[in-house]
């Protein structure tokens, strides 16, 4: 006897959802669409059952992002645990009018990953390493997004960016660089680095049609 539908948890509109399965405890939730935001709202009211339902939706994205930034499975797992506990702890502060649940969660994940990577490694070392990688193979950094973003929507969005915009975004997002470091590695003025990051993200946003 399965308890509940496997993955009826999606963001979006309030449409009718899965059938109840005769399990009295599961029936009330199974009868309505539970969005990730709705689950988070239940978590905010202290429901660890809702947190368990949320976990399989968010653990992969959180760990994947932490691993990408930290490049070390042990550290990534460590940070992921902190992030997941934060999701539980801070859930009462989530406000769905400010954005999606996944975005709120991944914002916490990125912030914690970046804080950790900055603590773990000397910034001088990291700057030197990435500068060297860049020297060796310019495409290593530039190509990162292409390897991981496989949808047509994202590919189209990427083509709208200039090389400098993409590199600036990748260095900040995946290497955890501050904009000062981005400007140093790319050898452009700080103002240019800031502008490229912002303009690039705006282009991505508009090309992907998200958040508007």
């Amino acid at each position: 006897m399965p308890e509940e539908p496997l993955l009826r948890v999606v963001r979006g509109h309030g449409t009718a959802d899965g059938p109840a399965h005769g399990d009295a405890a599961a029936a009330p939730r199974a009868s309505a669409t539970a969005t990730a935001a709705a689950l988070l709202a239940e978590v905010a009211r202290g429901s660890s059952v809702a947190f368990e339902e949320l976990y399989p939706l968010i653990a992969g994205p959180i760990y994947g992002l932490a691993l990408r930034v930290l490049r070390n499975p042990g550290l990534a797992e460590d940070v992921s645990q902190d992030v997941l506990v934060d999701v539980w702890r801070l859930a009462p502060r989530f406000d769905r009018s400010r954005g999606s649940a996944m975005t709120w969660i991944l914002t916490i994940a990125h912030r914690r990953s970046v804080d950790r990577v900055r603590r773990e490694q000397s910034q001088v070392d990291r700057t030197a390493r990435v500068a060297a990688e860049r020297e060796q193979d310019h495409d290593v950094v530039v190509g990162e997004l292409e390897r991981t973003w496989d949808t047509a929507v994202v590919r189209r969005a990427l083509t709208t960016l200039t090389g400098l915009q993409r590199e600036a975004i990748e260095l900040a997002f995946y290497q955890g660089y501050t904009h000062d470091q981005v400007s140093a590695v790319l050898d452009v003025p700080l103002g240019t680095a800031k502008t490229r990051i912002r303009d690039g993200l705006i282009r991505l946003r508009d090309a992907m049609g998200v958040g508007t």
Binding site: V49, L57, A59, Q81, L90, R93, I108, D199, R205
Partner: protein, 265 residues
């Protein structure tokens, strides 16, 4: 730093590329600036799409560790929602937010922790034996193993579809299954448990039926211990309904078997 400069920092803020003092200054500015708040929240959605390119299943022990920890971790109160109150909270979302008061009784309510992790690995296991070319899955597989790379890509794709802002889930009358559709992702995911084996054919097949009655062939799938997962790719704008038929092994180019379940777009 004047206000004009602060406006230029939205992108760097969203990517956590500001250093400590800049971040503080920018977060102090946010509650007073609707424009920056709006830009921060829309840029964050774009960054989320970037981040979802890296979905990776963590080790199973993480679940147990997290569950054990939340049981002994108190939650923050909803009535003190300021960025300063918790340095870890992303202020672009939280600062200045209107927080709905929650009755104290609800805050302290605790439901018992019940292990229920079997659902997720079940889908991954089912996906691994699916027949259709575009269908496979991840979740219990690990990065770095050749065989799992494609599975992981499909798992990532599935995660992106079900977490798309416009994703909608509909019950599918086939065991305890659902169809999750996202127009933005141009895809529909069939997933569920307790799905019976096909009676009249060898496999199930997903179809995108268009308004003009034509049906675009989707992947085939078979339940594994009742669990199924299949991703049908295609523009959903002209799709009238998603159907599932029973077909011979290998699937068909147009439906030949009986329709066993359907969901209107």
């Amino acid at each position: 730093m004047n206000e004009l400069n602060l406006h230029a920092l939205t992108g760097a803020y969203v990517l956590d590329a500001l250093d400590g003092s800049e971040r503080e200054r920018f977060e102090a500015h946010l509650p007073d600036c609707t424009e920056c708040r709006d830009e921060v929240s829309t840029l964050r959605e774009a960054v989320t799409a970037m981040a979802l390119g890296d979905v990776t299943a963590p080790a199973a022990r993480l679940q147990a560790a997290v569950l054990a920890e939340i049981v002994r971790t108190p939650q923050v109160g909803p009535d003190v929602a300021t960025a300063a109150a918790d340095a870890d909270a992303p202020a672009g979302i939280i600062a200045g937010a209107t927080v709905t008061p929650i009755p104290t009784a609800a805050v302290v309510r605790r439901a018992p922790v019940v292990p229920a992790w079997r659902r997720w690995p079940a889908v991954a296991a089912a996906a691994a034996v699916l027949v259709g070319g575009v269908v496979t899955g991840g979740g219990v597989l690990y990065r770095g193993q050749q065989a799992s790379i494609r599975a992981e890509a499909t798992h990532d794709r599935m995660m992106r579809i079900v977490s798309a802002p416009d994703a909608v889930s509909h019950a599918l009358d086939l065991g305890a299954a659902h169809v999750v559709m996202s127009g933005a992702m141009s895809a529909a995911v069939v997933m569920g448990e307790n799905v019976p084996m096909p009676e009249h054919g060898a496999v199930y097949q997903v179809w995108m039926v268009h308004a003009d009655g034509t049906a675009a062939a989707g992947p085939t799938f078979r339940p594994d211990s009742g669990a199924v997962m299949a991703i049908a790719e295609g523009d959903l704008s002209a799709v009238r309904e998603i159907t599932v038929t029973e077909e011979p092994m290998g699937g068909s180019t147009s439906p030949t078997g009986p329709v066993v379940a359907r969901v209107a777009r």
